[in-house]
Subunit: 103 residues, 2 copies
Protein backbone atom coordinates (compact mmCIF):
# COMPACT_ATOMS: atom_id res chain seq x y z
CA UNK A 1 0.00 0.00 0.00
CA UNK A 2 1.38 3.37 -1.04
CA UNK A 3 1.54 5.78 1.85
CA UNK A 4 -0.24 9.11 1.43
CA UNK A 5 -2.77 7.59 -0.90
CA UNK A 6 -6.47 8.07 -0.18
CA UNK A 7 -9.08 5.64 1.09
CA UNK A 8 -12.80 5.87 0.37
CA UNK A 9 -14.75 4.04 3.09
CA UNK A 10 -18.27 3.18 1.94
CA UNK A 11 -20.41 1.64 4.69
CA UNK A 12 -23.88 0.66 3.55
CA UNK A 13 -27.01 -1.22 4.52
CA UNK A 14 -28.82 -2.96 1.70
CA UNK A 15 -32.57 -2.58 1.56
CA UNK A 16 -34.62 -5.41 0.20
CA UNK A 17 -34.25 -5.60 -3.54
CA UNK A 18 -33.17 -7.66 -6.50
CA UNK A 19 -29.95 -9.25 -5.30
CA UNK A 20 -28.85 -10.59 -8.68
CA UNK A 21 -29.19 -7.14 -10.24
CA UNK A 22 -27.35 -5.60 -7.30
CA UNK A 23 -24.54 -8.13 -7.49
CA UNK A 24 -24.17 -7.56 -11.22
CA UNK A 25 -23.95 -3.80 -10.81
CA UNK A 26 -21.58 -4.05 -7.85
CA UNK A 27 -19.27 -6.33 -9.83
CA UNK A 28 -19.48 -4.05 -12.87
CA UNK A 29 -18.58 -1.03 -10.71
CA UNK A 30 -15.55 -2.84 -9.30
CA UNK A 31 -14.37 -3.82 -12.78
CA UNK A 32 -14.85 -0.23 -13.97
CA UNK A 33 -13.12 1.28 -10.92
CA UNK A 34 -10.06 -0.86 -11.58
CA UNK A 35 -9.72 0.77 -15.01
CA UNK A 36 -9.83 4.33 -13.65
CA UNK A 37 -6.65 6.45 -13.44
CA UNK A 38 -5.29 6.51 -9.90
CA UNK A 39 -7.04 3.33 -8.77
CA UNK A 40 -4.88 1.31 -6.35
CA UNK A 41 -6.96 -1.38 -4.66
CA UNK A 42 -10.40 -2.32 -3.37
CA UNK A 43 -11.59 -4.45 -0.42
CA UNK A 44 -15.25 -5.30 0.01
CA UNK A 45 -17.25 -7.33 2.54
CA UNK A 46 -21.00 -7.72 3.02
CA UNK A 47 -22.57 -9.96 5.65
CA UNK A 48 -25.81 -11.92 5.66
CA UNK A 49 -27.71 -9.00 7.23
CA UNK A 50 -26.87 -6.81 4.23
CA UNK A 51 -24.39 -4.61 6.09
CA UNK A 52 -21.34 -3.92 3.94
CA UNK A 53 -18.05 -2.07 4.03
CA UNK A 54 -16.13 -1.36 0.84
CA UNK A 55 -12.80 0.45 0.99
CA UNK A 56 -11.21 1.63 -2.24
CA UNK A 57 -7.74 3.15 -2.40
CA UNK A 58 -6.75 5.90 -4.80
CA UNK A 59 -3.58 7.81 -5.64
CA UNK A 60 -5.06 11.26 -5.05
CA UNK A 61 -8.25 13.26 -4.58
CA UNK A 62 -8.73 14.17 -8.29
CA UNK A 63 -8.83 10.43 -9.10
CA UNK A 64 -11.64 9.99 -6.56
CA UNK A 65 -13.54 12.98 -7.98
CA UNK A 66 -13.20 11.61 -11.51
CA UNK A 67 -14.55 8.21 -10.44
CA UNK A 68 -17.42 9.83 -8.57
CA UNK A 69 -18.38 11.81 -11.70
CA UNK A 70 -17.97 8.93 -14.18
CA UNK A 71 -21.21 8.45 -16.15
CA UNK A 72 -21.93 4.78 -15.52
CA UNK A 73 -20.98 5.22 -11.86
CA UNK A 74 -23.31 8.20 -11.53
CA UNK A 75 -26.17 6.02 -12.78
CA UNK A 76 -25.27 3.36 -10.21
CA UNK A 77 -25.15 5.96 -7.43
CA UNK A 78 -28.66 7.09 -8.33
CA UNK A 79 -29.94 3.50 -8.30
CA UNK A 80 -28.21 3.04 -4.96
CA UNK A 81 -30.10 5.94 -3.40
CA UNK A 82 -33.40 4.99 -5.04
CA UNK A 83 -33.36 1.23 -4.64
CA UNK A 84 -30.43 -0.59 -3.10
CA UNK A 85 -29.42 1.12 0.11
CA UNK A 86 -31.46 1.88 3.21
CA UNK A 87 -28.55 4.11 4.23
CA UNK A 88 -24.88 4.62 3.53
CA UNK A 89 -21.97 6.60 4.91
CA UNK A 90 -19.05 7.68 2.80
CA UNK A 91 -15.75 8.96 4.15
CA UNK A 92 -12.73 10.10 2.20
CA UNK A 93 -9.51 9.69 4.16
CA UNK A 94 -5.79 10.20 3.71
CA UNK A 95 -3.77 7.09 4.54
CA UNK A 96 -1.09 8.02 7.07
CA UNK A 97 0.36 4.63 7.94
CA UNK A 98 -0.02 1.04 6.84
CA UNK A 99 1.14 -2.34 8.12
CA UNK A 100 0.44 -5.95 7.34
CA UNK A 101 0.61 -9.39 8.89
CA UNK A 102 2.49 -11.43 7.88
CA UNK A 103 4.82 -8.49 7.35
Amino acid sequence: MTLHCYAVIFTSQRSSGDDDAYQAMAQRMEVLARTMPGFIDIESVRDSTGLGITVSYWADLPSISAWRAYGEHLAAQQLGRETWYAWFKLRICKVESSREFPS
Copy 2:
Protein backbone atom coordinates in the same frame (compact mmCIF):
# COMPACT_ATOMS: atom_id res chain seq x y z
CA MET B 1 -18.91 12.02 12.07
CA THR B 2 -16.40 14.62 13.23
CA LEU B 3 -14.19 15.84 10.41
CA HIS B 4 -10.46 15.53 10.90
CA CYS B 5 -10.84 12.54 13.13
CA TYR B 6 -8.91 9.38 12.35
CA ALA B 7 -10.04 6.04 10.96
CA VAL B 8 -8.33 2.70 11.60
CA ILE B 9 -9.17 0.28 8.79
CA PHE B 10 -8.56 -3.32 9.84
CA THR B 11 -9.04 -5.82 6.99
CA SER B 12 -8.55 -9.42 8.04
CA GLN B 13 -8.97 -13.00 6.95
CA ARG B 14 -9.91 -15.45 9.68
CA SER B 15 -8.03 -18.73 9.74
CA SER B 16 -9.85 -21.78 10.98
CA GLY B 17 -10.23 -21.64 14.73
CA ASP B 18 -12.61 -21.58 17.61
CA ASP B 19 -15.35 -19.24 16.46
CA ASP B 20 -17.06 -18.89 19.82
CA ALA B 21 -13.80 -17.85 21.47
CA TYR B 22 -13.08 -15.45 18.62
CA GLN B 23 -16.55 -13.92 18.78
CA ALA B 24 -16.25 -13.48 22.55
CA MET B 25 -12.89 -11.74 22.25
CA ALA B 26 -14.02 -9.58 19.32
CA GLN B 27 -17.08 -8.46 21.27
CA ARG B 28 -14.97 -7.82 24.37
CA MET B 29 -12.54 -5.69 22.34
CA GLU B 30 -15.39 -3.62 20.93
CA VAL B 31 -16.84 -3.04 24.41
CA LEU B 32 -13.39 -2.07 25.69
CA ALA B 33 -12.63 0.22 22.72
CA ARG B 34 -15.85 2.13 23.39
CA THR B 35 -14.57 3.00 26.87
CA MET B 36 -11.23 4.37 25.63
CA PRO B 37 -10.59 8.13 25.54
CA GLY B 38 -11.00 9.51 22.03
CA PHE B 39 -13.17 6.66 20.76
CA ILE B 40 -15.86 7.89 18.33
CA ASP B 41 -17.44 4.96 16.52
CA ILE B 42 -16.87 1.47 15.12
CA GLU B 43 -18.28 -0.38 12.10
CA SER B 44 -17.56 -4.05 11.57
CA VAL B 45 -18.55 -6.63 8.94
CA ARG B 46 -17.39 -10.21 8.37
CA ASP B 47 -18.75 -12.46 5.63
CA SER B 48 -19.21 -16.22 5.51
CA THR B 49 -15.73 -16.72 4.00
CA GLY B 50 -14.14 -15.15 7.08
CA LEU B 51 -13.11 -11.94 5.33
CA GLY B 52 -13.75 -8.94 7.55
CA ILE B 53 -13.40 -5.18 7.59
CA THR B 54 -13.59 -3.24 10.84
CA VAL B 55 -13.28 0.54 10.81
CA SER B 56 -12.91 2.37 14.11
CA TYR B 57 -12.93 6.15 14.39
CA TRP B 58 -10.86 8.10 16.89
CA ALA B 59 -10.43 11.74 17.85
CA ASP B 60 -6.66 11.80 17.34
CA LEU B 61 -3.53 9.71 16.87
CA PRO B 62 -2.59 9.52 20.60
CA SER B 63 -5.98 7.89 21.28
CA ILE B 64 -5.18 5.22 18.68
CA SER B 65 -1.72 4.66 20.16
CA ALA B 66 -3.17 4.29 23.65
CA TRP B 67 -5.72 1.72 22.45
CA ARG B 68 -3.05 -0.19 20.57
CA ALA B 69 -0.91 -0.35 23.74
CA TYR B 70 -3.76 -1.22 26.13
CA GLY B 71 -2.92 -4.44 28.02
CA GLU B 72 -5.97 -6.57 27.25
CA HIS B 73 -5.89 -5.39 23.64
CA LEU B 74 -2.19 -6.31 23.36
CA ALA B 75 -3.04 -9.85 24.48
CA ALA B 76 -5.80 -10.02 21.86
CA GLN B 77 -3.42 -8.77 19.17
CA GLN B 78 -0.98 -11.56 20.03
CA LEU B 79 -3.74 -14.18 19.85
CA GLY B 80 -4.79 -12.68 16.54
CA ARG B 81 -1.36 -13.19 15.02
CA GLU B 82 -0.90 -16.64 16.57
CA THR B 83 -4.36 -18.11 16.06
CA TRP B 84 -7.16 -16.13 14.51
CA TYR B 85 -5.95 -14.40 11.38
CA ALA B 86 -4.37 -15.85 8.25
CA TRP B 87 -3.50 -12.28 7.37
CA PHE B 88 -4.53 -8.75 8.16
CA LYS B 89 -3.86 -5.23 6.90
CA LEU B 90 -4.11 -2.20 9.11
CA ARG B 91 -4.25 1.37 7.86
CA ILE B 92 -4.46 4.54 9.91
CA CYS B 93 -6.10 7.39 8.01
CA LYS B 94 -7.15 10.97 8.54
CA VAL B 95 -10.80 11.59 7.66
CA GLU B 96 -10.98 14.49 5.21
CA SER B 97 -14.65 14.48 4.26
CA SER B 98 -17.79 12.65 5.23
CA ARG B 99 -21.32 12.39 3.87
CA GLU B 100 -24.35 10.26 4.54
CA PHE B 101 -27.54 9.09 2.86
CA PRO B 102 -30.19 9.94 3.87
CA SER B 103 -28.47 13.25 4.53
